[in-house]
């Protein structure tokens, strides 16, 4: 049985509209209150000291000098740090990591917190931190992917299988008429949301209030409750606005725990906001990968095998592994598929989920490798992909819940003008003599659902309040979710008071996995439907209502009125139904998750096709992406403006991945040398031109009640490979590392 829309609920008067962000005005005028904007009375500032070495031990801290600095109130070190009730090595929730919170004097990565200074002013805390002047016993750091032996393990990412095999890869290699065997590398990337991690922690007895940006409010409450030995309901998290998250704000981290500990120890509220430099270490990153792809094809270009091996860097004390090789599963109709992962343990902070974890790195390499094969086969890159178009999920044979990828290829190619692409590289120049290259890649992202709950209450005056602890990372969730809620209640958007972004509300789930609109939206939809169902029952049973006795026909809710389904002449306003019933309001609730059997019967993915144009100076080798066209099929689009913005954001990240982002380690000292936004490059406006997004119509009756697939991450996939392929097409040079740099083209 597919999940279907509640028959009582009409869908689409608010959804589908390009409503602007409801919080936009507050954000651009500076009135939106972000976590660090909170400054409660009597507050202290906390600053942690980052380790300057990557491996070894702290042998000395001048705590006397720090404590003596005017304004400094406390100095926390492993020697005097009060105990935690929960072990930082435990994993109390699904998205937990072992973290460093002054358990001992060892240093496991550069940037690790090794002490905390608390002071009356930020300046005093900073100077106290400097005065600690740490002394170290240094061991040789291991920060290069070749510095440790790869090892096999059980689970990549969060519980994904480390190894997946469909069919017979050896037979696939043996039967291939053409084959390639290529190895690519992707650089470590660090989440650099505009808002760095911040918390204002306040204890009242054994109740903890946290102003902090959180992508997972309910899980944050459970996590912090665990470490501090209090019930989860004693933790209040307020997260009305986030300045970006990208995966790094879903997880309790060491710095947060230290700030909360300082608040408990001092009995005063404590604020901590990470500096940009402090973002490079304790709050996650996308791990470096080395990926080997062996592809085989018969003479006609049909893939006999995709054999994808990934090695990813992780920390010495935890085990998140970028599941890059999984990106080769489920996308092309190869005779055999094999994805394997190994990891190397390095002296780095633990990687974590970063926008399209696995899919971004894996897709980048897969899409480039396919082009290398297309070149060998003498095929157009799009033609090769169409020859291997999967009508059912490769390996499993499951039907797709929906798949409009063919339309994405067609519409994207048409808009881009792909058909006039010369097959050979180095053929195109613009009027200024710049090299021009065109490349493409397939975009692909799964459609996970989490669990969420919501309440909806219809008031006598035909306004409503809806509640769920959903979060808006900046992507516009508050707007899209409110649109869904308004539709579910048959009310205009401005009649709905949308409450979210804090604990104490029904669990809105996690803003991650591109599943937040589907999950929290599904719960809101169900809650509104519950209200309308109750309202219909009241009206149908009321002899004074024009709707009396019409219960079997069902109702449609629209603009504050209930209509008999199929008979628009019979209707009544909510206000009239409620006025006669004597009840002041109607409360409903709902939840959303995916039934396991639905997931087992269908493969569920969003798809897309990205086409890129690059221009490259033939002598100086400076590169620029001049056009990107992305056509995406992602189920129902709730808000076209916001969805387009999300897809733009993903594609811009693709530019970033392909040409810019790279944390560069000094392997001798083990630290990251470019740990600020002057050195760690992301694209600036001048790097982004000619973005074009097409959303391809797609109806999916299986993926969830609303038919939503999610648009948060898919834009990166496909784009990186498309740019890499365009650079090859412009120059004839194949650079097998990301980001691609000027010197790579100069020297290759």
């Amino acid at each position: 049985m597919p999940d279907t829309l509640d028959p009582h609920v009409r869908f689409g008067s608010n959804s589908g509209q390009p409503v602007t962000r409801r919080d936009g005005l507050a954000k651009v005028t500076g009135t939106a209150t972000f976590a660090a904007d909170n400054t409660p009375d009597n507050m202290l500032y906390a600053v942690f000291v980052p380790a300057a070495i990557a491996r070894g031990r702290v042998t000395g801290l001048d705590t006397e000098a720090a404590a003596a600095h005017p304004g400094v109130t406390h100095v926390l070190t492993p020697q005097n740090r009060p105990p935690l009730q929960g072990d930082p090595s435990d994993k109390p929730t699904m998205f937990s990591f072992r973290f460093e919170a002054l358990q001992d004097d060892s240093v496991r990565y550069a940037g690790q917190p090794i002490a905390l200074v608390v002071a009356e002013t930020l300046e005093a805390a900073n100077e106290g931190a400097r005065l600690l002047n740490p002394k170290y016993e240094r061991l040789t750091p291991r920060t290069d992917i070749d510095d440790a032996e790869p090892y096999a393990f059980e689970a990549a990412g969060f519980g994904l299988p480390a190894n997946t095999v469909h069919g017979n890869p050896e037979a696939g290699h043996a039967s291939a008429a053409q084959a390639i065997d290529v190895t690519y590398e992707t650089a470590p990337q660090y989440h650099n949301a505009m808002e760095t991690h911040a918390v204002v922690a306040k204890w009242e007895g054994d109740h903890l209030t946290l102003d902090m940006p959180s992508q997972a409010i309910s899980m944050s409450c459970a996590g912090f409750a665990y470490y501090f030995g209090i019930p989860a309901e004693n933790v209040t998290v307020r997260s009305p606005y986030l300045g970006g998250g990208f995966g790094s704000k879903a997880i309790p981290t060491g710095p947060y725990v230290l700030a909360i500990l300082a608040a408990r120890m001092t009995g005063r509220p404590v604020k901590m906001m990470l500096t940009r430099q402090q973002m490079f270490g304790p709050v996650g990153h996308r791990g470096q990968t080395r990926q080997r792809l062996r592809l085989g094809a018969d003479d006609t270009g049909r893939l006999t095998v995709i054999d994808h091996e990934g090695i990813a860097a992780t920390s010495t004390f935890d085990d998140f592994v970028e599941p890059a090789a999984n990106a080769s599963q489920g996308i092309y109709a190869a005779g055999a598929l094999r994805s394997t992962h190994r990891a190397v343990k390095l002296d780095i902070g633990t990687p974590g989920p970063m926008r399209a974890p696995g899919e971004a790195s894996g897709s980048a390499v897969l899409e480039c490798a396919l082009d290398e094969l297309a070149e060998k086969l003498g095929l157009d890159p799009l033609e090769l992909r169409l020859k291997n178009y999967a009508e059912t999920e490769p390996g499993t044979g499951k039907p797709y819940s929906s798949k409009a990828l063919r339309e994405c290829y067609a519409q994207g190619a048409e808009r881009f003008g792909w058909n006039s692409r010369p097959r050979a590289p180095g053929q195109m120049r613009d009027e200024d003599g710049l090299l021009v290259g065109w490349g493409m890649g397939t975009a692909f992202f799964p459609c996970p659902m989490f669990m969420a709950e919501a309440n909806a209450t219809l008031r006598a005056d035909s306004t409503a309040v809806v509640e769920t602890s959903a979060v808006d990372m900046g992507q516009g969730a508050w707007t899209a979710l409110a649109q869904i809620a308004a539709d579910s209640l048959g009310l205009p958007l401005d009649k709905v008071d949308f409450q979210a972004g804090r604990s104490g509300l029904p669990d809105g789930g996690v803003a991650g996995g591109s599943g937040h609109t589907a999950t929290a939206g599904g719960a809101l939809h169900a809650a509104g439907g519950d209200v309308i169902r109750q309202l219909g029952e009241i009206a149908a049973a009321d002899p004074d209502s024009p709707l009396y006795g019409a219960g079997n026909a069902g109702f449609v809710a629209r603009d504050g009125r209930l209509y008999v389904a199929g008979d628009e002449s019979r209707s009544e306003a909510y206000t009239d139904i409620l006025a006669r019933s004597g009840g002041a309001e109607i409360a409903g609730n709902g939840s959303a998750s995916r039934a396991p059997e639905t997931a087992e019967q269908h493969a569920m993915n969003a798809h897309g096709a990205v086409f890129a144009e690059v221009k490259i100076d033939p002598d100086l080798c400076q590169m620029r992406v001049t056009r990107l066209v992305g056509a995406f099929a992602a189920g129902r689009i709730i808000n076209p403006r916001l969805a387009e913005s999300q897809l733009f954001g993903g594609m811009i990240w693709g530019i970033s991945f392909a040409l810019h982002e790279e944390a560069r380690h000094d392997h001798k000292r083990g630290h990251i040398v470019n740990a600020d936004l002057a050195g760690y490059h992301v694209p600036v406006n001048a790097d982004v031109s000619g973005l074009d997004v097409i959303t391809v119509h797609e109806e999916d009756p299986y993926v969830n009640a609303l038919g939503i697939k999610g648009v948060g991450e898919i834009g990166i996939t496909g784009t990186v490979g498309a740019i890499g392929n365009a650079i090859w097409h412009a120059t004839g040079k194949r650079v097998r590392r990301f980001p691609i740099r000027i010197e790579d083209l100069l020297t290759s």
Binding site: E127, R624, H660
Partner: protein, 350 residues
């Protein structure tokens, strides 16, 4: 950050009197304040000179020199009509640097004093001879984009300024005043190569303050054929991997005088005198420019894993000369100094 004394003098005399060892002049603050926050610089006293009178003018002197006050902001200088007309590559270099917000704050004097962006100089935990004499240089084994010319075993850092590259090409003179009175320093002698003394980065004596910058009358003679070119990792808001300021004086289809300076290759903007001599009197042809660029980089040697950068610097010089030969555009391109600035358009002094 370390506590410091903050002084806001209202005259040059007061400012000079306020100086003592350990003090730092504060202009726009776009470099000093960052370095203070990360602990790479720790002055005891910060003297805010932005209120000093008489240092914010741009004027043409009776001999045709252009005099620019030390407190003129980069943004104001770049759009000044005289500078845009007579010193177009100075304007182009300014507009290719940093971002609009930073250019609004940054001053002429501060730009001359800009510190290297070497990651190891900026990291107070790293060994750096520039920051701490005798400490050693952690960049030696790790830097792959560092100096090619004039570096020493003690320091391989480069000067990051765009502005200073055309200044070097155009023989700018820097007017300073200090405890010993006023003097002038030629731009080529202002920034110092590291040698055995990497911590000494400019010729300023302790307590000396930059008051103005002067471009001699000859500098304006190149206006018709003067370009700045900057190669970098992204299209805007990045320091140069290599850059070049090229200026030609053309007479009857031949080069009567030439100026060439390279950026991001040494601890100072690198004036290429031998290349200039080869260009003078010759016809402007690519083969000549290639020979000139080879001469400019004849002494270059890798300071790490950056042999590729010699090639890039050479190509940058050749291209800058070609652009200069083609003539200064009537308008600075929307992407100043960029390979992606369109080459099509009217010329300024045709």
């Amino acid at each position: 950050m370390k506590r410091f004394e903050f002084i806001q003098p209202s005259s040059v005399e007061e400012a000079l009197a306020a100086w003592e060892p350990g003090a730092a002049w504060l202009g726009g603050g776009t470099n000093l304040l960052d370095l203070m926050k990360i602990g790479a610089m720790q002055p005891d006293r910060v003297i805010d000179i932005t209120r000093l009178p008489g240092l914010s003018g741009i004027e043409t002197l009776s001999d045709g020199s252009i005099r620019i006050g030390a407190l003129v902001r980069n943004s104001d200088l770049a759009v000044n009509a005289t500078v845009a007309r007579d010193l177009p590559m100075v304007a182009e270099a300014l507009l290719s640097g940093a971002s609009g917000q930073l250019r609004n704050a940054a001053t002429v004097g501060g730009n001359l004093m800009q510190h290297t962006r070497c990651n190891y100089f900026q990291d107070p935990h790293a060994a750096c001879n520039r920051r701490e004499p005798g400490a050693g240089c952690d960049a030696r084994e790790a830097g792959d984009r560092m100096a090619l010319l004039g570096w020493s075993d003690g320091c391989i850092a480069t000067n990051p300024s765009d502005f200073c590259v055309p200044l070097a090409a155009l023989d700018a003179v820097i007017e300073v005043r200090g405890p010993q009175g006023a003097r002038e320093i030629h731009v080529s002698e202002f920034h110092l190569l590291p040698g055995d003394n990497p911590q000494r980065v400019t010729a300023l004596e302790p307590g000396e303050l930059i008051l103005a910058l002067r471009l001699p009358p000859e500098a304006t003679a190149f206006a018709g054929h003067a370009r700045y070119l900057k190669v970098r990792d992204r299209t805007s808001f990045a320091f140069a991997m290599s850059s070049a300021a090229a200026a030609l004086k053309m007479e009857d289809g031949r080069i009567s005088d030439a100026r060439l300076a390279l950026g991001a290759v040494a601890a100072k903007p690198w004036r290429a005198a031998e290349a200039e001599a080869m260009l003078s009197g010759a016809a402007p042809e690519e083969a000549l420019f290639t020979r000139a660029a080879d001469a400019a980089l004849a002494e270059a040697k890798p300071s790490g894993d950056n042999a590729w950068k010699i090639d890039l610097a050479r190509r940058t010089a050749v291209r800058a000369l070609l652009m200069a030969a083609a003539g200064t555009p009537a308008r600075i391109p929307a992407l100043p100094a960029s390979p992606f600035g369109s080459k099509v358009g009217d010329l300024a002094h045709a």
